[in-house]
C-alpha cells in the first residue's frame, strides 16, 4: 500500500487543525511548508485519489447541531455472515459509522459496531428498530450504548508537526 512521503506528511501536519479561513488558504498553507499553491492543491487531490484522505470539507459536530442523542450499537454476528450484514447496516442513512471489530473475549463478544445519531433518544431507538428489521437483526444478541459525557472529540493526531516522515508507512 501507498507510503506518505515527506512533503505529504508536512502538508497533513500543517492542515490537521483545519484550513485557514482566508481567501487563498492553499497558498497560505503552502507558504508555511515551502510548497506552491498549485502543489498543495495537487497533493490534496492525489491523497484523496489514493484513499488516504477520506473526504475534504466542513466537519460538523453532531451534538452542537442538535443531534444530542447518539448510541453505539454492537452485535455478536457469526463471522461468516458479518460482511454481508455489515454492508447492509452501513448503507442505512442514519448510520454514521459501521465497522467490524475484533471481539475482546470473554468479556466482550461483539464484532459489528455502528453509530446512530438522533435529536432525541426515541429517534435513535426508532431508527434502531428500523435497522434491525431491515437487516434481520431482531434476534441477535446486542448492546445499545448511549453516550453520556463527551470528554474529548478531535481529529486523529497522526502528525506531530515537523517530524521525519519515514515513520508514516501505511500498512
Amino acid at each position: 500500500m501507498r507510503i506518505v512521503n515527506k512533503k505529504e506528511a508536512d502538508l497533513l501536519a500543517a492542515i490537521q487543525g483545519g484550513f485557514p479561513l482566508t481567501s487563498r488558504p492553499f497558498q497560505e498553507i503552502g507558504r508555511e511548508i515551502g510548497l506552491s499553491e498549485a502543489d498543495v492543491i495537487a497533493s490534496l487531490a492525489d491523497l484523496t485519489q489514493s484513499g488516504i484522505i477520506k473526504r475534504i470539507g466542513i466537519i460538523v459536530r453532531h451534538r452542537e447541531l442538535g443531534f444530542k442523542a447518539n448510541a453505539m450499537v454492537v452485535w455478536d454476528i457469526p463471522d461468516n455472515m458479518v460482511t454481508v450484514i455489515g454492508r447492509r447496516v452501513g448503507e442505512m442513512d442514519f448510520v454514521t459509522l459501521c465497522y467490524r471489530r475484533r471481539r475482546s473475549l470473554p468479556r466482550w463478544p461483539y464484532n459489528l459496531y455502528c453509530m446512530i445519531h438522533g435529536r432525541e433518544r426515541s429517534e435513535v431507538l426508532e431508527n434502531l428498530a428500523t435497522l434491525e428489521s431491515c437487516c434481520g437483526l431482531e434476534e441477535v444478541s446486542k448492546q445499545v450504548l448511549f453516550s453520556q459525557r463527551r470528554f474529548k472529540q478531535q481529529g486523529a493526531g497522526y502528525f506531530p508537526k515537523r517530524v521525519s516522515s519515514n515513520q508514516f508507512a501505511s500498512k
Binding site: M1, V4, L12, I15, G17, G18, F19, L21, S23, P25, F26, I41, G51, I52, I53, K54, R55, I56, G57, I58, I59, V60, R61, H62, L65, V82, T83, G86, V89, G90, D93, T96, C98, Y99, R100, R101, R102, R103, S104, R107, W108, Y110, H117, Q143, V144, L145, F146, S147, R149, R150, F151, K152, Q153, Q154, G155, A156, Y158, F168, S170, K171
Partner: protein, 167 residues
C-alpha cells in the same frame, strides 16, 4: 447567465450569536461536507454556488466554528491507512470516572473519549504511529486507571463517509 439567490441570505449583521442556524447555514453545511472545491479561491467558489459573497461564506464559517457547530474545515483521514488505531474501553467506578477520563485525555494519541451507558463505561479511540506506542498508551491507561483495558481494533469498514445529511 448566473442567477444569484440573494434572498436566501440574511445580512451579516443579523446573524444570531447562539447555536441557531439560518437557512443559509444549513445549505452551506449540507453542500460542502464532502465536495470542498480544490481551487485557489475555494470560499469564493462556494459563495458562487450558494449565491453569496466570499466574505459572507468566511464570516459564516468563522461563526459556526466559534460556536462549536463546525469542528474544522479540512480533511478527514481514512482510519487504518496511517498509523495504528483501536477502540478501547474500561470499566470505571462512577466516582472515579472523571479522574480516569482525565488520564485518558492526557494522551495526545486519544482523539475521542466518551462516557457510555454500560458496565464498560468509558470508551475511547487511540491512534498512534506504531503498534509499540499504541500498546504503551493502553498499558499506561490500564495502570493509571487500575482496571483492565479492553481493545477492539477495526477489521473492516462498512460505511462510506459522505458527511452527515442534515434534515
Amino acid at each position: 447567465m448566473e442567477i444569484k439567490n440573494h434572498n436566501f441570505s440574511q445580512p451579516l449583521t443579523s446573524l444570531p450569536d447562539d447555536l441557531s442556524l439560518t437557512p443559509m447555514d444549513w445549505r452551506l453545511l449540507n453542500a460542502f461536507q464532502k465536495s470542498f472545491p480544490l481551487v485557489p479561491e475555494p470560499f469564493a467558489q462556494m459563495g458562487m454556488e450558494l449565491g453569496i459573497s466570499e466574505a459572507e461564506v468566511i464570516k459564516r464559517l468563522e461563526r459556526l466554528h466559534k460556536n462549536g457547530v463546525v469542528s474544522r474545515v479540512g480533511v478527514v483521514l481514512r482510519t487504518g491507512r496511517l498509523g495504528v488505531s483501536t477502540l478501547a474501553a474500561v470499566e470505571v467506578e462512577g466516582d472515579d470516572l472523571e479522574r480516569v477520563a482525565k488520564v485518558v485525555n492526557s494522551f495526545t494519541e486519544v482523539n475521542h473519549n466518551y462516557e457510555r451507558e454500560n458496565s464498560l463505561n468509558l470508551w475511547f479511540v487511540v491512534t498512534a504511529r506504531t503498534e509499540e506506542r499504541l500498546m504503551e498508551v493502553l498499558t499506561e491507561i490500564e495502570s493509571q486507571s487500575g482496571s483492565p483495558v479492553y481493545m477492539m481494533p477495526m477489521e473492516e469498514n462498512y460505511h462510506i463517509d459522505l458527511g452527515f445529511p442534515i434534515h
